[in-house]
């Protein structure tokens, strides 16, 4: 396509779209027609719509994946295709998928994003521990200090009540295993952005804590994302990103408009608790 229309020049965007560049407006339509005729080169992703989803490697190639990123992305984009080819959202909508909490994509600052989570305390193959792991590194890897030495076993033990299943100990110590086919699942976070337009960059916040892994098409995850997109599309003001819209109306209103169940998981009990609890009686019913 680039050879035919652009003297061979092309580039990739930061959202991993292919961009063909032409040096004259006269050449645009023929290029667009050719892409459309190709059948698998949809043209879009600019302006106030959905652009390509930044995602991680998933089961295709990553050792710590708790889901498959490519499969989720394909399933979502099949449903959101109209928002890719048109510009009828209030503002641009950045989607991202991370197949574990390492978040190699910019999931922590996206309008709507999926992050695959574990939900069970890891198991430890104690016999291998002393051969494969460094005790101080494993203990230091735990953000909640749930890991302590187990001298009798020449290994470590995990305090179940403190573990929040981040998997960082697994990353530094292979005999620790956290993958679980029936318990790994998808969490949905919303309202993040990286640009400083109008308001400062924002983190994405947790709204749906868990949906079971359901390959090959994760229908409930896709339905949830599409639902949030549609509520945003019909309620936000022009130019408002998802996070700006929610901050204007309030999170309590967001949960009401989307009819998403509010759970304990949405109340921070990790490092950001002080900043995120409400300290005024002025909220909406």
């Amino acid at each position: 396509m680039a050879d035919k229309h652009c003297d061979g020049y092309l580039r990739f965007t930061t959202r991993n779209n292919v961009e063909f560049m032409v040096d004259s407006a006269d050449k645009v339509q023929a290029l667009v027609d050719d892409c459309n005729a190709h059948g698998m080169m949809p043209v879009g992703g600019t302006g106030a719509g959905v652009t390509n989803i930044v995602h991680t490697q998933g089961w295709v190639h990553c050792h710590s994946a708790a889901t498959d990123a490519s499969g989720l992305v394909k399933s979502m984009m099949d449903e959101l295709m109209d928002y890719f080819t048109t510009k009828r959202l209030p503002s641009k909508l950045r989607l991202a998928v991370a197949c574990c909490v390492n978040m190699c994509g910019a999931v922590h600052c996206s309008d709507i994003a999926l992050v695959a989570v574990h939900t069970k305390v890891p198991t430890i193959a104690h016999d291998n521990f002393k051969n494969m792991c460094e005790l101080p590194t494993v203990i230091a890897s735990c953000p909640t200090r749930a890991i302590s030495p187990d001298p009798a076993k020449k290994s470590v033990k995990i305090n179940d009540a403190k573990c929040m299943y981040c998997g960082n100990c697994f990353t530094v110590c292979p005999p620790i295993s956290i993958k679980d086919p029936e318990r790994d699942g998808i969490a949905i976070v919303v309202g993040g952005k990286v640009g400083s337009l109008r308001s400062a960059p924002k983190f994405s916040k947790l709204v749906i804590p868990y949906i079971s892994n359901d390959p090959p098409r994760w229908p409930k995850v896709v339905a949830a994302v599409k639902h949030i997109v549609e509520v945003y599309a019909s309620h936000a003001r022009k130019h408002e990103r998802v996070g700006e819209w929610i901050e204007r109306i309030g999170w309590e209103r967001f949960f009401k408009l989307t009819d998403i169940n509010f759970t304990f998981q949405s109340i921070d009990d990790f490092t950001f608790m002080r900043d995120t609890l409400r300290t005024a009686s002025t909220f909406k019913w």
Binding site: Y9, T14, Q57, H61, M77, C109, V194, L197
Partner: protein
């Protein structure tokens, strides 16, 4: 070649969005590794769990980074992916290619690897998915001979990346493409030979739109900005209005600092109150243009949630000029790395070390003065450190006040 039954993956060949399964299967027709990667993936979809093991130490001679070891637990069942290492190639600034260059990369990759690529990884590299340990040296020799080089991995300076910048964006405040190329050349040693406590990412964005997500994903975020007034073309403002834009609703009332007004004939901006967020400029590009001195704001420390929560980068240097040979920035980067080296525990990102040791320790080490631009608000608690020098300065100031009879707060 083994034929795999893939009922799960076949579902992902349906629908309007391009199918990665179709592309993987295409590669699998001519490459056994890609073929086994398809079978392996079907197995993951069926059992709902992954089988890739932790990476091993693999690489090419003289380099510590650029190749990530990957092996499957299911080597007997899928011999083609028994070794399936990732190779990162350093992308050109702004991801500009010719089809000829891409074909060359893919031809070499077909010869030595699975033929599967990932365009591009989250850090910016062109990622080649799946090869064996034996193939690493010959494939690296061949890529090298054509002018390509490996990117970063592990505890090194990761491959720096940038937005499209002046390549095709009117909003950029400096040459992001040139800066990233220049920094990549300058820090080859740090890129290829992991010597840090952990990874260090550098991303350059031309303006506050931050298309390269530097504020969220780079240890050092370089974000373009300017110091002069926004130039207004009133005729173009009228044109936007004529074409349906509600200037007061979409521009004036959405200005975060409320420094604009529009009376139906002329748009005015109180530039001293503007915080350069880019909203108005991106909405009315033909009417509004920054002017005056151009440069960037430097921010430090962003990262994803592991270990104790995500960080966005913090402003450290409100304004720096960025012109070749970028000496001031390079000196600063070296000072940043020195302090990080001295203070970090293994696997500690710089943002985490700043949280532990305090911003003061960091700023003093790199020679940057405290400025209100660095904070959202001052501290709320009264638990401060005072050095003997701090107190001596306060006392000296008060002595001076007694002499002049004038307070200097």
């Amino acid at each position: 070649m083994k034929k795999y039954d893939t009922p799960m993956l076949d579902e992902l060949e349906k629908g309007p969005w391009p199918s990665f399964v179709t592309e993987m299967k295409k590669a699998g027709k001519k490459n056994e590794m890609a073929n086994d990667a398809v079978g392996h993936l079907e197995k993951c979809f069926t059992t709902k769990v992954g089988y890739w093991k932790h990476g091993g130490i693999v690489g090419v001679l003289g380099y510590g980074g650029g190749v990530i070891g990957r092996y499957t637990e299911l080597g007997e069942e899928f011999p083609g992916v028994k070794h399936f290492h990732t190779v990162r190639l350093n992308q050109p600034s702004g991801w500009f290619y010719t089809s000829k260059a891409l074909k060359e990369i893919c031809d070499i990759w077909d010869k030595y690897g699975s033929g599967l690529t990932n365009m591009h990884g989250s850090t910016g590299d062109l990622v080649l998915l799946g090869t064996t340990t034996d193939a690493l040296e010959p494939l690296f020799a061949e890529f090298s001979s054509r002018g390509w080089d490996l990117g970063g991995s592990g505890s090194d300076m990761r491959t720096p990346s940038c937005c499209i910048g002046p390549g095709r964006c009117e909003w950029t405040n400096y040459d992001t493409l040139d800066l990233i190329y220049n920094l990549t050349q300058e820090f080859q040693d740090e890129l290829h030979r992991p010597m840090f406590s952990y990874k260090f990412k550098i991303k350059a964005a031309g303006c506050a739109c931050d298309c390269v997500a530097s504020i969220a994903r780079a240890d050092l975020s370089i974000i373009g900005t300017w110091k002069g007034d926004i130039q207004i073309d009133q005729a173009e403002v009228k044109n936007y209005e004529k074409n349906g834009m509600d200037i007061n609703g979409e521009i004036v009332s959405m200005c975060p600092t409320q420094c604009m007004s529009y009376d139906g004939t002329a748009l005015t901006i109180d530039n001293s109150e503007c915080n350069r967020c880019m909203h108005c400029i991106t909405r009315m590009t033909k009417a509004l243009q920054p002017s005056g001195e151009r440069g960037a704001t430097l921010c430090i420390g962003s990262k994803a949630p592991i270990v104790v929560g995500s960080l966005l980068s913090w402003v450290i240097v409100p304004f720096i000029k960025l012109e070749p040979p970028y000496t001031e920035l390079k000196d600063l980067i070296r000072k940043i790395w020195d302090w990080w080296d001295d203070n970090a525990k293994p696997r500690e990102r710089i943002g985490e070390v700043i949280e532990m040791k305090g911003m003061r320790s960091f700023l003093e080490a790199i020679g940057v003065e405290p400025q209100p631009q660095q904070i959202k608000e001052p501290r709320k608690d009264p638990f401060m450190f005072y050095t003997e020098e701090d107190i001596a300065k306060f006392k000296a100031n008060e002595e001076e006040e007694k002499k002049t009879g004038k307070y200097n707060f």
